[in-house]
Symmetry: C2
Subunit: 338 residues, 2 copies
Amino acid sequence: MSAEVVSLHPRASEPSLAPMLALTAAGMNSVNTVILDRMQSQIPLIPALAGHLISGGGKRMRPMLTIAGAELCGYHGARHHKLAAAVEFIHTATLLHDDVVDGSDLRRGKATANMVFGNPASVLVGDFLFSRAFELMVEDGSLRVLKILSHASAVIAEGEVDQLTAQRHIETSEERYLSIIGAKTAALFAAATRIAAVVAERSEAEERALEDYGRNLGIAFQLVDDAIDYDSEAAESGKGKGDDFRDGKMTLPVILAYARGDAVERRFWQDAIAGFANSDDDLAHAVELIHRHDTVNATRERARHFVQRAIGAIAGFPAGEARAAMAEAAEFAVARRY
Amino acid sequence: MSAEVVSLHPRASEPSLAPMLALTAAGMNSVNTVILDRMQSQIPLIPALAGHLISGGGKRMRPMLTIAGAELCGYHGARHHKLAAAVEFIHTATLLHDDVVDGSDLRRGKATANMVFGNPASVLVGDFLFSRAFELMVEDGSLRVLKILSHASAVIAEGEVDQLTAQRHIETSEERYLSIIGAKTAALFAAATRIAAVVAERSEAEERALEDYGRNLGIAFQLVDDAIDYDSEAAESGKGKGDDFRDGKMTLPVILAYARGDAVERRFWQDAIAGFANSDDDLAHAVELIHRHDTVNATRERARHFVQRAIGAIAGFPAGEARAAMAEAAEFAVARRY
């Protein structure tokens, strides 16, 4: 366990996802049944392609957060199973489209769906899953949930377009980066946790508290993802190492290394992000510069800040298994090395 | 005016879209305001790309059908303006994704958005418009409309995937082709007209009648589109001439020419659809074979059959300006040469 995490939240051992998995095990069984049932179609390519990604070892963080949030709210119904599946379908649709947009060939250590089935099928099956997500929400029948998730979906797309616009632009600010990840990643985390309070019919304040937990956790999660892509000590992340670098994506480790670099280093970053220096040697040099300026750790430090805020957001809920599991899951998300 | 159209519906002149345009002019003004307002975003690339297609000379057939359907139902409110805009956003999203899927470079006589802005931006802005469509529906607040349009969206995606699976497969049957166009094209026409009856709070039977009008018109519309792609007499369709041929898409003119051809011709079609014979000379030969077996006219004949059904579907509504305009618009859709 790293010293920083200890200082924030004294704990006898490394933070673990185990309490979260235990808390949500029964609920996630139901969610997985809905997912497998509702990704079916008369068109065989649809479940084949969707299943490639859905069965591909994802952690299903987002639906798990909906289930955990419902536990925190003391909800004992079953509505959230369908809605959690809808959240995962929206997430899966964005992953399918992201991999097409980035031309990615590896995700979670496996060939991407676009590599196996082609870009056209990935685009269209993403559209199918997105539509199916809305069908699930309509079946549930809450306009409030529909509003939260349709808005989140629009915000996600805006964040993705914004990221595309920022790509290969070395002058991207930390503020803009935070705005991008707040949209492309944290909006769905926030919606996933907020809808738990909606189905549990809790107060607006509690909705906001759960939303804040999700949003801050989502930002932390993305910061750590972006740190890992340059972390020479990290285990393989399951996506192609150095993808962000080769794609010229402006993530916080780069933004900080550029800000802290001297004129020669800044020149290197300008060339690299513009796409003129992206060999394996260039990547190694980038990792070295990032190590020199300690920006992976600085990025993780920022993530810990957001995790603190996430944990603080649910402090008003009663202490118990659910709150403890959600707090530890947040710490786990930021301490992870893969 | 062709003899066939006269035999179905005696009319003094060529069928025209003018009565439909007059009927829906005021409503479409309101719809266009919603479209322009709601395609905006803080991310400048979104309205730029969306506007490229939305302002690109489309006829806005689908929202126009919603407006016309509402007129037919005697609806005097304003709810359908937002919903018609949602229908157009769904349609625009599918066009953006289709052009990426097909690698198209021309639509409505202009460079496609993917050619101007790139595939990644087209995929993501499509996702944005799709999400925005659902936000508009949620604002309206009818779960029934949400159900109809979320289901239509899933069916459209299934139809697109099915078409992708059938591509380059010469053995595609007429039945499967009709199933594909029923999903990829007619489902949205059917939903667009059905929701007019929903907002007007008409009976289930009237909902079904308007849905049948839309579905049959949508099938006819796609049949004519597919005929035009091989119609040597037709004016430029605005999309790249012979695109379907080069993409190996199995449309009715080809399915019928293959069925009616001798062994040598069938061999040619097998090679062509598989992608081994797709030069300009091959396209010219394909057009000649289609002319020899008269399958463009046979396809148009099928379209006229569906238009008859569309017109028949609304026969139970009171005679008047709306019903006459919708009937003539259906005839126009099938008589058009571009």
